[in-house]
């Protein structure tokens, strides 16, 4: 009999032994080493053992009886010290064993993030039964932090939660399982896990693990401190190659093998996660089993060759139904087919290229996963079934869910018009009483008679109540991704508490996987305006000027405009501007209509440097590119002017310092004139304040661009404090209600100045608006120059780059 020594009793080598024993039971005298004190068990089923949904006994593949029955000599719990290839012996802790053929199946080691504190007691990996038992033994109510939101990390998190722990998952990427899922499916998965009481933090980078001997907390790069009794590292694996390397075998990222699983030594073979084949590593079980089959044939002298195949993924968390296969990254020439059913939490996306299915992501409805996987693997031409492909092999004529259903399902006491407190029942009553169109409903109930954002909803109630007798006027949809209007989207973001773009895409049934260049900037604004603390601004959903924080010019250069509070500057600032203009060869220096100095013709790669220089002189970005506060223009006021009635310059500076940095639906320009002579031209601004002897006249909705329009009076107030309060409240109301890219005058044209006046006349409402604005400013009032001129960030301004998710202007 040939002497076969196998190092590692994992799933790959276990399958190899089964093949060998089935094909030639008497051919080999097998010695099996395993560092773990046990034989082969189904390692990928450790997660249900952790959660309690399976017992360890159920996942044992080969028990003692099996090894005994097949004459396998087990050296379990014994580490192999080294391999002596010259003498053809394996040296274990308890003595050496000669071999004719050697199989290395050492698998992989978990990757431990080498942050400070990674070696504290209570920091564990998730790899084997011992790790699993360590987690099971953790006391109830303990706090666990799982680092890594991939397959393994999420399974650990769900299991720990079921075991009664408070669990937080930290994930470095923007969405969970980013290698297997797109953002939309990642959003659904996150929602599913959060429903289980698991806290999920994405874009969370671990700085260190704190503790005195044992784990006490995890500290993130942003300073967040998460108390923890247990930290589970599930960030990836590394092939275990030390033994092979020491033995002088050819090792790249892992042990290099040929298609017969032979290493650089013809008597030594390798199989499983420790091998590298054609530059590829392996972590899922299917290719490992293929390798085992090939290696068994090789050892038996038969012809066989290993060829990697397409893989699909399964997450073993009860109740989370997801499927992903193939390649679903965006690329030119690829086309998406998307199906969403928000009510049932279903998202399906197919990626087609050259009439072939190349990728599939599914959440909630995975019935056809294997069929799609087959189409991907076989490269089937899908052009004939393109129209119905998304519905799977048993296409049953399914269509998108009826958007009316949600409205029809609302109870009678559901509030439809928030402004006037009108509920659905009252509207239905009015309709049944003869109010069969929008105007009549408005007149009867006051629903949609104020700000108008519920108009679409009222129309849907009309349609749901009257059926065919009412035709819903076609609202202009945001873009081709949806049938919903901007107003509907804004309303639903608030009412359904949608706090991320994937949440909007999914819950509002977007037809595209991740929006388009039209809807993304609008959604980005709506979300940051409504959820300043929860939503994170997405630079890739911004127009190029906002992404670059500078206005791009027709020759590809940029303009740089430092902020000058209220149009006031100093000799030192002017000197710094002049120095910067010379240093960076700025060809044009121009004074703007908004009382600023514009440096035109700055090269993209110089931007971070010129910003840094201007920053050093105390100048910050003037946001001359943004949908946000641009300038507050002032006249000199009582300080210098004979006609000045108030300190217009001081008020202008105060307003600018309060409002700068805030994002708005479109640009916002202010002016403060010290007397009715109006030298600051306040009466054609979005907000224009004219000072008079008795106080401040606040006008809103002016324009001096494509349209020219004089402001209308919003209010007259006695004190500067009131002028600031009213202005801030107005800007916040505009931020909360206007459609993206509507200037204030356009928005006022839709909702009516009367509604705005009524709303702002309520002191409590005004206070609340100001509070919400100030809350938002705690996040957004920061100078992008200071942030972006640091060296790391500056790299992003070097010429290059085609970011697929960027919104183009």
């Amino acid at each position: 009999m040939e002497k076969l020594v196998v190092i590692g009793a994992g799933m790959a080598s276990g399958r190899l032994l089964e093949h060998l024993i089935n094909a030639a039971p008497d051919r080999f005298e097998v010695t099996l080493f395993n560092a773990e004190p046990r034989g082969n068990y189904n390692r990928i089923m450790l997660s249900p053992v952790l959660s309690g949904e399976k017992s360890y006994a159920e996942i044992v593949t080969h028990d003692d009886d099996w090894y005994q029955a097949h004459g396998v000599t087990c050296r379990f719990g014994e580490r192999v010290a080294h391999i002596d290839r010259d003498r053809k012996v394996v040296v274990g802790a308890r003595g050496e064993v000669p071999y004719d053929k050697l199989v290395i199946a050492t698998g992989s080691d978990p990757f431990i993030v080498p942050c400070p504190g990674h070696d504290l007691d209570g920091v564990i990996a998730y790899r084997d039964l011992d790790d699993t038992n360590r987690m099971i033994d953790q006391a109830p109510g303990s706090r666990a932090v799982v680092i890594g939101g991939g397959l393994l990390g999420l399974e650990a998190a769900a299991g720990l939660r079921l075991r009664g722990m408070e669990v937080t998952v930290l994930h470095l990427a923007g969405h969970l399982m980013e290698r297997q899922l797109d953002p939309a499916a990642g959003y659904l998965l996150r929602a599913d896990l959060e429903r289980r009481g698991i806290t999920v933090m994405t874009q969370a980078s671990t700085k260190c693990i704190r503790g005195d001997g044992s784990v006490e907390a995890v500290e993130l790069e942003d300073g967040t401190l998460l108390p923890a009794d247990l930290v589970v590292m599930a960030v990836g694996i590394r092939p275990a190659v030390a033994l092979a390397k020491d033995a002088g075998l050819s090792v790249g990222r892992a042990i290099e093998v040929d298609a017969q699983m032979q290493t650089s030594d013809p008597h030594v073979f390798a199989v499983g996660e420790c091998v590298e084949f054609a530059g590829q590593l392996f972590g899922l079980v299917a290719p490992l089993y293929d390798q085992a089959k090939v290696l068994a044939a090789t050892l038996l002298g038969e012809d066989a060759a290993f060829a990697p195949k397409q893989l699909s993924t399964k997450l073993k968390v009860t109740g989370c139904d997801l499927f992903s296969a193939g390649d679903f990254t965006d690329a030119p020439g690829r086309e998406d087919i998307v199906y969403r059913d928000p009510a049932r939490g279903i998202y399906k996306r197919l990626v087609v290229e050259d009439d072939r299915l190349v990728g599939a992501v599914m959440y909630g409805d995975t019935a056809d996963g294997n069929w799609f996987f087959g189409l991907i693997k076989d490269g089937t031409d899908v052009s004939d079934m393109r129209e119905t492909l998304i519905f799977g092999p048993a296409y049953q004529g399914g269509a998108a869910a009826d958007p009316m259903a949600a409205v029809a399902a609302l109870p009678a006491d559901a509030e439809i018009c928030g402004c006037n407190g009108v509920c659905k029942g009252r509207i239905v009553e009015a309709i049944e009483g003869g109010a069969t169109d929008l105007g009549a409903v408005r007149a009867t109930t006051k629903a949609s008679a104020s700000c108008g954002t519920c108009t679409g909803l009222v129309e849907q109630v009309l349609a749901a109540t009257l059926g065919d007798a009412f035709a819903v006027p076609a609202a202009q949809p945001v873009c081709g991704c949806t049938d919903l209007s901007h107003e509907d989207v804004r309303r639903l973001i608030k009412s359904q508490e949608l706090k991320s773009q994937p949440a909007v895409w999914q819950e509002l049934g977007w037809r595209t996987p991740n929006g388009c260049h039209v809807c993304r900037p609008a959604l980005n604004f709506y979300l940051l305006a409504d959820w300043p603390l929860e939503y994170r601004d997405d630079p890739q959903s911004r127009f190029v000027n906002e992404r670059k924080h500078a206005n791009i010019q027709k020759d590809g250069t940029f303009s740089v405009v430092p902020r000058m509070w209220g149009g006031v500057t100093t000799a030192a600032e002017l000197r710094a501007i002049a120095d910067a203009a010379e240093k960076y060869d700025v060809p044009t220096v121009k004074v703007t209509g908004g009382q600023r100095i514009d440096l035109l013709g700055v090269k993209g790669e110089d931007l971070p440097h010129i910003w840094a220089d201007l920053n050093a002189a105390g100048l910050v970005s003037g946001h001359a590119y943004s949908k946000g506060l641009r300038t507050v223009k002032t006249c000199v006021g009582t300080d210098h002017c004979r006609f000045g009635t108030q300190d217009s310059t001081g008020l202008g500076i105060r307003l600018e310092k309060r409002l700068w940095g805030s994002w708005t639906p479109h640009k916002v320009k202010l002016a403060v004139s010290g007397c009715p002579r109006n030298c600051a031209e306040a009466t054609c601004k979005d907000v224009g304040i004219v000072c008079v002897d008795s106080g401040f006249e606040i006008g809103v909705g002016g324009a001096a661009g494509m349209d020219v329009k004089e402001v209308e009076r919003l209010a007259k107030v006695a004190t500067e404090d009131e002028a600031v309060e009213w202005t801030v409240a107005f800007v916040q109301l505009y931020r909360e209600h206007a459609r993206y890219l509507d200037r204030p005058y356009k928005w006022l044209g839709k909702v009516g100045l009367d509604w705005v006046k009524d709303t702002l006349s309520d002191a409590a409402a005004r206070t609340a608006l100001v509070a919400r604005f100030d809350l938002s400013q705690t996040v957004y009032q920061s100078d992008p120059w200071a942030e972006l001129s640091t060296r790391d960030r500056a790299r992003g301004f070097a010429p290059l780059a085609d970011l697929t998710l960027e919104a183009a202007e």
Partner: protein, 310 residues
């Protein structure tokens, strides 16, 4: 196939199905074991909404545990007492707002029979024990009464969060953190948790905790019948299960090719076809003395079938 006569007594002695007919619940099937007299009494019974135990489960749209027949609304007290049946649990089966049936199980009390049938209800965002029948596991009963489950925690919290049935093994260790010591002492090993959907959105979870000596069941099965998982209608896949005789009823190596039940074929198939629970005995129950198949509807459609055999 012969009925297997296991040597140990089972926890549940009688199971019966009551279905709505006009404005009453009538008996559509039952397994009564040796309790012929109680069977006789039941065959002539029917319940209006709110009447008796099945009528109460219907009217109140929730699972109901009744541990004391004397002086209660239970209508067959004399017949039950005569054969030693002392407690009962009624589980309404709703598809959306439609009552499909009420499953009633009855247990006999003695000093040694251990197990638990529990009903957990959500109150203020947490699952609390509504009521439960524990046989001789009195300490465990006390512990359960003083335990609460947040979303995602423990068998009840896990069922609630995932909205799917869950079969937990080795409850002694699985419940280590909350009810372990007590569960271990009571010999409770396996737990089946089942969501009980009712109209109106209230959350109820039914758990069956089984002890080795007096098992609630010797075999548990969970079938996934969701269209989103199985594709064509009226089939179900056996996604999990454990059996005293056959061992695990799942095989990860066979993922995607699980055992499939087809509508109308066998008792699970009959649950699929009708959307109603079934109770069987003898050959129709795979040779077990009693088989119960319980459908779980979601959004008005059949989503899962759980079956237990004892």
């Amino acid at each position: 196939m012969d009925t297997v006569l296991e040597t140990t007594k089972t926890f549940v002695e009688v199971a019966e199905i009551w279905v709505p007919e006009n404005d009453r619940l009538v008996l559509s099937g039952g397994v009564y074991g040796r309790h012929d007299a109680f069977a006789e009494a039941s065959h002539f019974e029917s319940f209006t909404k709110g009447e008796g135990l099945p009528g109460k489960a219907w009217a109140e749209a929730r699972p109901v545990v009744l541990k004391q027949f004397d002086g209660s609304y239970f209508k067959r007290t004399e017949a039950a007492k005569a054969v030693g049946l002392t407690s009962a649990v009624a589980v309404p089966v709703f598809a959306g707002s439609t009552l499909k049936a009420v499953l009633v199980v009855l247990c006999a009390d003695d000093a040694t029979r251990t197990g638990a049938i529990e009903v957990w209800a959500e109150l203020d965002g947490i699952l609390k024990l509504e009521d439960g029948y524990y046989g001789a596991a009195t300490h465990f009963e006390w512990v359960s009464q003083h335990t609460q489950f947040p979303r995602g925690q423990g068998l009840p919290g896990g069922v609630w969060a995932s909205n799917t049935p869950i079969l937990m093994r080795d409850l002694g260790s699985g419940y280590r953190f909350i009810r372990s010591e007590s569960a271990g002492k009571a010999g409770l090993t396996t737990g089946l948790g089942v969501p009980v959907p009712v109209p109106g959105g209230a959350t109820y979870v039914l758990t069956l905790l089984s002890a080795k000596g007096t098992p609630i069941a010797r075999r548990f099965e969970i079938w996934d019948a969701r269209l989103a998982k199985t594709g064509p209608r009226e089939t179900a896949k056996l996604i999990d299960g454990i059996c005293e005789r056959e061992g695990p009823l799942w095989d990860p190596e066979n993922a995607g090719n699980e055992r499939v039940a087809h509508a109308w074929e066998g008792p699970v198939g009959r649950v699929l076809g009708t959307g109603l629970p079934v109770v069987e005995t003898g050959a129709a129950a795979g040779g077990y003395a009693m088989m119960v198949g319980l459908p779980i509807h979601r959004g008005g459609e059949l989503a899962h079938v759980v079956a237990w055999y004892c």
